[in-house]
């Protein structure tokens, strides 16, 4: 376009702090009418916060958000919505007792206490919108009876009904099948054709690459790259954030005990969250003493897999542990039998000291063993020895992660599950964490199952690797083969 169209949305210098953490730092971008911008970044990068700041769900500390020339930064959400910003939420919570049509009508109502009956054109308009998003056949049904994709259509319909100048879409394709992805892409293209400005927020470039005109990549609250999808995918910084730097692999040859019984054996596991499919026919095994990495982008299903193993979510299929089935067993018993998960959210007791957190982990050990285990761990993570009496909440992100791992190790697990330990950590911390894992692997017979998005972090220690994509295992093999076979297609 040679003609300079005035941007519909013009964001500049947007900044948000949560306590000491800078969640968003001087983010700026513009979206023209009919343009689609992708805002991507791994979990914790601040992309969702940017969306919330635009919608007024959070108040920015600095910066402007101009909608067709009017600065709406800091306005209450409902005024921003009336001004012309619409949002398609990832998780919909429609009114369960009203029909689909009534749910759409809701979006068409004025913000008035005294208009008790909807105007006559509302019904007509709601039907039109239902037809347009493909809900025509189910418009008189109640949301709880609808499949997941239809609930997302309903969210789309509500956004359409408001006829916003800017549409923010949170993870547009999460939980959808490839056929449904095509339908939703078409709906979003429809927004573009009608001259709406569209912001797609997602974990990675891949899922939105086909639709977006430009991509803005974020990491740790800051802009790290901007350009076309291809440019951003090729960008060095982006590749380092998602894949890490050079891929290294150190498989231990002596571990080729493939004839032995698997310690953990997952066979054909399916998990659904309501109607969204989170895992599909996933099978993997971990042998005693092995270090197995499961790599996959955010949203691929890693956490769900670990939660199924730990007994935290119901699943279909079989999970065997030392030859016994774990199906239907409660999480506490699974943990006592030696499967200890270190969740991505860390779940530390923030008000307690480092030492108290560790002591809690070792609660069930005899006193002598507890001391011994504690000393070993403080040697493994020397920084924790220094910080013993500090409150856990005052630790840096990397230290918190080490504490979370140490606390899990206090339980003397037979299998340690590490879920995305690099989440939100700066590169320099990653190295320290990586060294600690290296020592752990070299000096102890521990069995580890690691879930990671960051391939460079996950591969050096791995004996075997699984790649999870869209709820399925798409690749399995040695880390040395990964770079050659999967490296390019991963992002």
């Amino acid at each position: 376009m040679m003609l300079a169209t005035a941007p519909t949305l013009d964001v500049s210098g947007l900044t948000k702090r949560f306590g000491g953490l800078i969640a968003v730092k001087e983010i700026g971008f513009t979206i023209a009418p009919g343009e689609i911008l992708g805002l991507i970044g791994p979990n914790g990068s601040g992309k969702s916060t940017v969306m919330k700041l635009i919608m007024g769900i959070e108040r920015p500390d600095a910066g402007t958000v101009k909608l067709a020339g009017t600065d709406i930064a800091g306005w209450p959400t409902h005024r921003i919505a009336r001004q012309g910003v619409g949002m398609v939420f990832q998780h919909s919570r429609p009114l369960p007792r009203q029909t689909v049509l009534e749910n759409i009508k809701l979006a068409l109502l004025p913000d008035s206490l005294f208009r008790l009956a909807a105007e006559p054109h509302v019904d007509h308009r709601a039907r039109e919108i239902a037809e347009r998003v493909g809900l025509g056949a189910v418009m008189h049904r109640r949301p709880p009876t609808l499949p997941f994709a239809d609930l997302r259509r309903l969210e789309m319909a509500k956004a359409l009904a408001r006829n916003p100048k800017v549409v923010l879409v949170d993870e547009p394709f999460a939980g959808l099948t490839s056929g449904e992805v095509a339908v939703f892409s078409e709906l979003i293209e429809g927004f573009r054709r009608e001259g709406h400005a569209v912001l797609l927020v997602d974990h990675n470039v891949k899922s939105v690459a086909a639709m977006v005109d430009r991509v803005l990549a974020m990491y740790l609250g800051q802009r790290i790259a901007e350009g076309t999808a291809e440019e951003v995918m090729r960008d060095e910084t982006v590749r380092r954030v998602y894949i890490g730097g050079k891929i290294e692999a150190h498989p231990r040859k002596e571990l080729d005990n493939k004839g032995g019984e698997a310690l953990l054996d997952v066979r054909g596991v399916d998990v659904f969250y309501g109607k969204a499919r989170a895992l599909q026919e996933v099978s993997l095994h971990v042998n005693t003493g092995e270090f197995v990495s499961v790599v996959g982008l955010n949203g691929a299903g890693k956490t769900t897999l670990f939660n199924a193993i730990s007994g935290l979510v119901p699943f279909a299929g079989d999970i065997h542990w030392s030859g016994n089935s774990l199906n239907g067993r409660d999480p506490a018993r699974i943990a006592r039998e030696g499967i200890v998960q270190c969740p991505e959210t860390r779940e530390l007791f923030g008000d307690m000291s480092v030492r108290e957190n560790l002591d809690l982990g070792g609660q069930h050990l005899p006193r002598a063993h507890r001391e011994e285990q504690l000393n070993w761990l403080l040697d493994l993570f020397p920084i924790l020895r220094e910080r013993q009496h500090q409150q856990a909440v005052t630790l840096s992100g990397g230290e918190q992660q080490m504490l979370a791992i140490a606390r899990a190790l206090m339980m003397r697990p037979k299998l340690l599950i590490l879920d995305e330990p690099t989440l939100g950590l700066a590169p320099v911390i990653l190295e320290q964490l990586s060294n600690a894992l290296g020592r752990l692997r070299e000096t102890t017979p521990i069995t580890v199952l690691l879930g990671e998005q960051n391939v460079t972090f996950a591969l050096p220690h791995a004996d075997r690797v699984y790649v999870l994509e869209h709820a399925r295992v798409v690749w399995e093999g040695d880390p040395e083969r990964f770079a050659a076979e999967m490296g390019a297609g991963y992002l």
């Binding site: 007792r97 009203q98 809701l106 109502l109 913000d111 109640r142």
Partner: protein, 306 residues
Amino acid sequence: MTLLRRPGPWIGLLLVLLAATAPGWLGAYYLGVLSTAYYFGVFAMSWDLLFGFAGEVNFGPTFMIGTGAYAAGLMNNAGFGIPLCIAGGAAAAVVGGLILALPALRLRGPYFGLVTLVAVLLLLDCIVIFAGVTGGEIGMMVPSILSVSAVTNYWYAFGFLAISAVILFGLSRSSLGLILQATGQDRIGAAALGFNVTKHKLAAFCISALFSGVAGAMITFYEGIASVDTVVSLALTVQIVIAVVFGGRRTIVGAIIGGIFLILFNELLRPLGQLNSLVVSGIALVVIIFFPDGALGWMFHSRDES
């Protein structure tokens, strides 16, 4: 025409007919019980509007009821006539409702619930401290009463219930009801659709307080006394909650059914003495555990599945 094939409306019509002809075939004692039950039904409906629709876990309905009752009583003792006293009680209750709403705009879930509980305790304390004018724990006698005739009193109660039910049910089915449900279910989602959540929540508090206050004032002039037990105690709050959950929250009509059922049942089981409340509580517990959507909710559900 599907409406005519459902059993619900027919059962409802039958119940209304029975209630409208009750003075013809019921004795004064049971008319009295029903009158109390009708006022209680309004308490329950008002609470359902806040909890079921606006999603506010309010443990202080009796703060609004009690404020209405005692304000009306005080005015009556000061020489004002009943209609004016009821209007004054309603106004005082609305002010009380707004005071209660302030923390609701800042606090969520259990914290708001706690604040409403404390509000009731404060009101109780005030009534006891100023026993000179309020009568304290004994209650405050009022010089005027609605009527000495059980039948007239019954008509007052029935008329009030009917008018309240029509208005509250109508509101619940109106655009306002739809928006309220949206704000109750998902504040952020509702705001993102352009609805001023604060404004709508305040409106819900005012409406709930208005009906609670009028009901509180009327029951005072029906019984001739405003007492802590009938309009303020936490036991009454618990009964209101049970009535709504029992009848089916988010239905308004369910609240009436639950309220009347609860009072009638209590009365029928009176011969059991102490066991009476145990049995009622037991039944309520069973309903809450096995039919969390209450009687009406359960009917809705079975219809959805068929």
